[in-house]
Point group: C2
Chain length 212, copies 2
Amino acid sequence: MVDLEDPELTVEDRHHLATVLRLRDGDEMTISDGLGRWQPCRFGATIEPCGDPVLVPTPTLEVGVGFALIKGDRPELVVQKLTEMGVDRIVPLTAERSVVRWDAEKATRQFRRLERVAREASMQSRRVRLPVVESVAPFGSVADAPGVALAESGGGPVDLARPMLLVGPEGGWAAGELSDRPRVGLGPTVLRAETAAMVAGALLTALRDGGG
Amino acid sequence: MVDLEDPELTVEDRHHLATVLRLRDGDEMTISDGLGRWQPCRFGATIEPCGDPVLVPTPTLEVGVGFALIKGDRPELVVQKLTEMGVDRIVPLTAERSVVRWDAEKATRQFRRLERVAREASMQSRRVRLPVVESVAPFGSVADAPGVALAESGGGPVDLARPMLLVGPEGGWAAGELSDRPRVGLGPTVLRAETAAMVAGALLTALRDGGG
């Protein structure tokens, strides 16, 4: 997640590479701008490119998951897993029955935290195009866009015609939210909110990417 | 997870129902034997059946996930999520490149812990047939059974012809483990071991159960 023309590592990244991954001067590594380009380099006091930059094409279709806010560190878990799976857009939501609410200060802090989680998970999974993590959005601002479906028991199968799936709060969607919006089922069992978000991500990316 | 003929709650379950879920005397609840039967009851000092027992048919096909041991509390996370998704058989494995090893005492303690996690996740997800959680098994004792495939980059798509997927350690499968065994890919990104196990469970149960 650096400028490929003039690669510089943050202090944290350098520490991670040198101390955790134990890279030594001259070891090969790859850097990425997080926008789809990566380049082989050699580790050292400066980062020296040692090959041509490679542009990974944009995905044929962007898939996304929105999830009603959940407690504790489960939003981080969701963002980490969705990023590893290759989800392109991740949106924390407030829904009518959301128990968890973030005030403006917490929303800003969490947004930065989730962005950092997505960045680290992208590096971990060698993903060269960062997902877009949005700041917390009201349900209504997301639900009526084209291609959106609500995860709800009894809905139809996951389908790339609706590549943005929204997962409700523990108490479920309110009737006004469900309304006559398209619904997609995630299976016969009752999933915790964070599990539903992960299943949505796994099924959407599998449909788009096939095996591999 | 009780005897339907003579339902008795454990102290922990009673506490959970009364204090966390705030059930009062006479409230309806359901009990299950964990073997596929459930029954409506009324909560109180004794648990009184108030309807006929219902037998949920066995799944048309049992799906399973084996995963090489991973550090910290991630085995619990995997068992919890696979149970919610409806996976029938969950097997912790030791593989050649497993960094994590459990001695006999730890294996026994962890087995009990994972069984408890599966029981709680079954109740949470209203699943009336408990998954079989096996104690830690060597790779070789599981890998050559019919219907088993290894999760490996570049493998074919997940397929119910091989309903038991094994996920390797962080260092990957050894050449001798891969050998000429069937391989299944879980997508183009690099997944952490626990994420791979969850994706395997999500794809297998979705193939078997469809939407819903």
